[in-house]
Symmetry: C2
Subunit: 237 residues, 2 copies
Amino acid sequence: MTKIIAQLSISLDGCYAGPRDDDATNWFQSAEAAGFFRVTRWVLASMAWRDRQHLDGGEANVDDEIVAESFARPGAYVMGRRMFDGGERPWGEEPPFRNPVFVVTHREREKLERQGGTSFTFVTDGLESAIEQARAAAGSKDVAIAGGGSLVKHALELGLLDEIELHYVPVILGHGQRLLDVDLGAKEGIELVPERTIATPEVTHIRYRVEGRGPLELDTRGGRYPELAKDQGRAER
Amino acid sequence: MTKIIAQLSISLDGCYAGPRDDDATNWFQSAEAAGFFRVTRWVLASMAWRDRQHLDGGEANVDDEIVAESFARPGAYVMGRRMFDGGERPWGEEPPFRNPVFVVTHREREKLERQGGTSFTFVTDGLESAIEQARAAAGSKDVAIAGGGSLVKHALELGLLDEIELHYVPVILGHGQRLLDVDLGAKEGIELVPERTIATPEVTHIRYRVEGRGPLELDTRGGRYPELAKDQGRAER
């Protein structure tokens, strides 16, 4: 059955890119890009990624297998407008997706057909609509939210993701755009279940099933919390 | 050789507790505590923790072994003032540390001797001084920054930690106090090296060696970044 999935590389402080910089004269030299390229370094170095970019070389290792897997699973993609704009030129005539891509945007635009199976359809009536169109295009394969990070975050907030794989890159950026900075109520959380963990020197890949949003479940297995919660005080501060 | 270590439970969005709440009439019922007790649920349920609290039962599993290990390694602790204030009463006459604890505070106070090997020494001349005093007390064992999160963050920012173990708990809190929200310059990061990863259903334990702070290292292995960085533009937005 088709799942709605996402996977993103993040720093240990949860950033998928440095601080947003719309005014950079060369975006690739901005602090935003520096953060983005640091956390995706393992992808750019992989053979599977380089192959899709028609570049030679790259590393064939466990990280590379995970990149290859992330290309193999989706039958269609959903993408944010800003990611599309940033990628349109660098991806060139044969973008790496090789499947229909549905771009969530406010601007109407004719569908683009590219070589190698990639097309870009511009969807102006929202994320849910883009997901439904991608689901119809994906057949029995999965629908991947390709990014950017703000679209993945939005999908998570709206409860639209079945699965998210986080690639934890061992660097702390300190400043940047945070993937999981979702808006939840007090004492509320989104619970997930880790389903697969693969550790390499460059990155820790953890795949989560998204259970959903609800009140935080504290120690329901007989810990000390219930006892302390009844205690109407603590030592003076 | 003595290492300066820390370990903390955090949500996937990097929070060690909910939003700070100094005005709660019962802190244990605050949103701050709800976040804290959710991410430390696996600790409170462990046999090793319960044993140190003189409580029966608890679970004996891999998570429990990790709690036991975290108690076994330090020969001395460094602790923040707020953590001490919050714990002083609940920990009781026989606190779980069983080693000298050095509390970083602005308020002078006589050393406290407790049962079971725990003492609290109040250090008013800063974190580095507390670490040096703890190092002298620890002998050949390690010095652990016990918490709270803001003290661990401060130690990381100052480059004082040799190792940090993060216990990633599969919940997103959305709001809360972030452990890794350190202040770094643009295009700068703190690099770490994962040394051990242990995955259980409740938590993913990743131990990192802290390499240190410096400029972000982008794709130095021949990826596409250098080529793109030369490109003085991208598609219009």
